[in-house]
Symmetry: C2
């Protein structure tokens, strides 16, 4: 017959196991951040190579870096091979491995200029999207509310940075040969990344925010030039390189913040594990279960003379409070998912741009005095009334 104290300890052990799992997943997120950063640069350089007549030397060096980081990531995946990690994470990893395996063939075709700037960028974007889905699964499974908040901030930051990376490639293509469609696409990428960074700012630890600069004068000037027809002239080739350099230095700055955020996640995991490993206070006497009242103020110090029942109640309350906090974070995320899904629906069925869809939702919410998520829910509920997606 197992005692209450045993199950109390088992509960502690569970917490530690979950946190250690989270620590390993977070280490993987850090690795994936580096791989994504390298692939983003490969995507930018591939676009430069395909747009102009640049020699592929810088690209070749970048591919080598990607290969090394991909090996580290594969090793990281292997470290996770424990069934406690969750089916969805493993499915996402299986998807990404397919992409990594197919990379050499893609690179050969880029090298042979058998790809356009757009199809090359789209292929690498597909892989990065898969990698971000792995990060999302890792973030979604966190059982500690603080770490969960950090991972939500990190995931949105990484997504915003990915959109910034797509913007880099889109800008290179637009400076090469601007068209209204390329410029529209560029504007959309700017808007979408701003929304991701908003979520980051909402969930990130305040200490990290001062390092985060949303604005960059040189970048903004080039954006203005590139997104207006003024760029469609001979200076395009010069501006293309300037844009690539400015956008690259921005990507590096974003990567530095991302790395710090990932380090913060790992640090928080360590702290929480250390806390959970604190020995249980000594429990000497059993308070009577049926007659017990809330524990008196511990005038003898919190470590002394506490009954098992008090310990059980403390721990239970703490775990419940953590769960409630976690649900708040998840609800906030859930709201965002609703809004994203409603926007996607409007984009597919009404041929709205993402910006237009967002504006419509926000306007409707303001007019009706309702929350954005409520309007999104209403849009999804009336999906059947919208015209079908064109083919």
């Amino acid at each position: 017959m197992t005692s209450a104290l045993h199950f109390l300890q088992l509960a502690r052990q569970c917490e530690i196991t979950e946190l250690e799992l989270l620590q390993r997943t977070s280490a993987l997120v850090d690795t994936l951040g580096r791989l994504i950063h390298a692939l983003q640069k490969e995507r930018g350089l591939s676009t430069v190579y395909l747009t102009g007549r640049a020699a592929p030397t810088e690209l070749a060096a970048q591919i080598k870096e990607c290969e090394q980081l991909a090996d580290t990531a594969r090793a990281g995946f292997d470290d996770l091979s424990s069934p406690a990690q969750g089916a969805r994470l493993f499915s996402r990893i299986a998807y990404v491995l397919q992409g990594l395996d197919a990379l050499p063939a893609l690179r050969e075709r880029i090298q042979a200029r058998q790809k356009t700037p757009e199809t090359s960028a789209a292929a690498l974007t597909k892989l990065v999207t898969g990698l971000l889905a792995v990060v999302f699964e890792a973030a979604d499974g966190a059982a500690d509310p603080n770490i969960s908040r950090l991972l939500v901030a990190l995931f949105h930051f990484m997504q915003g940075k990915e959109l910034a990376g797509q913007e880099r490639a889109a800008g290179v293509a637009a400076f090469g040969a601007g068209s209204e469609q390329r410029q529209q696409n560029w504007l959309h990428l700017i808007e979408a990344q701003e929304r991701c960074f908003q979520v980051f700012a909402e969930f990130a630890p305040p200490t990290l925010l001062p390092q985060w600069r949303a604005e960059d004068a040189a970048l903004e000037r080039l954006r203005r030039v590139g997104c207006t027809s003024a760029a469609n002239n001979e200076s395009g080739a010069d501006l293309r390189q300037t844009w690539f350099d400015v956008a690259t230095s921005r990507m590096d700055a974003l990567h530095a913040i991302e790395t710090q955020l990932a380090a913060e996640v790992l640090y928080q995991c360590e702290c929480r594990i250390a806390e959970a490993r604190q020995p249980l206070p000594v429990a000497d006497a059993n308070a009577d279960f049926f007659d017990s009242f809330p524990a008196p103020a511990a005038s003898l110090g919190p470590q002394l003379n506490r009954s098992v029942l008090e310990l059980v109640q403390d721990q239970s309350q703490r775990l419940q409070a953590m769960q409630a906090e976690l649900e708040t974070t998840r609800a906030a995320l859930q709201e965002r998912k609703l809004v994203e899904r409603a926007k996607g629906l409007l984009m597919a069925r009404r041929q709205f741009s993402e910006g237009e869809a967002h504006k419509l939702l926000r306007q409707t919410a303001m007019n009706q005095g309702r929350k954005l998520s409520e309007v999104a829910e209403a849009v999804l509920a009336m999906a059947d009334l919208l015209p079908p997606a064109p083919h």
Copy 2:
């Protein structure tokens, strides 16, 4: 280097592990249902013993049955000692074990008539509440949407049945010596159990609903007599026994449905495990990751000629869809929790009865054309504006 196929299999294995865990927890829920049923009867018989002059023979037999079922439950707890089960579940179990350990002392005091009908019932209610919290944790952790719905139905059914059990004891006490307070308490128990059974009806499989009869003429007649002052006469003692018998046969009927529902949960676990154990279709060629389009209609039969990439995408979609469904169930539960918390706040701060609090929330929602959960959220948000709880 581990292949995509390996991670695909790992994802499958994860699902199976989670389902087997769920199966073991569900078996425990079944055991706990039986123990709770026996404790509920012990509570009723204890009240009969303390209210009248009945000899304790029937009570003694019931205590024996409780002891046996408690041993089975303890063995069931021991079966769970794997850290994958979750910290909150183990904390709840630790709490319950304290209660089971303290039972013999409580029974001695009841035997010696050192307890009133109310304090005796309250003590056993405390233990049953702890046991229901274990069931709740088991229900909350389910990773499969169908099983999660069943467990939500089962949990609410068990909670409703527990309120019906409290009603049995309350009725015995009220027929012994009716007072306005006892009658108020009785009415509250009727109303609260009806709300639980509503949730059950919402989440239960339709096949089970025909067996579920909300009304019972004999019970309703006794409720009417007992809840009005008409019962305060010499016929009280006779009616007490009649009430106890009618309420007990109702409890037994509820228990039969509960047992069927628990069996259904176990059956669904088995089905899902069998499904997840189906071998993966043979994957012969790799579709190209970067050029692949959605899989063509499988004219060769679904088991033939499918690429690993297709398998990965199918599995991933299935898992995501399951997750979305699960979130819908959780959101529905979350809404109910909000409403319960708001009601609790109104009861504590405004001295409303549960019925009054519920009526106020519903009325406000109707007047404002808002969802009940939105009104509950608003109430919780303005908690600081309500008068503090009296002491």
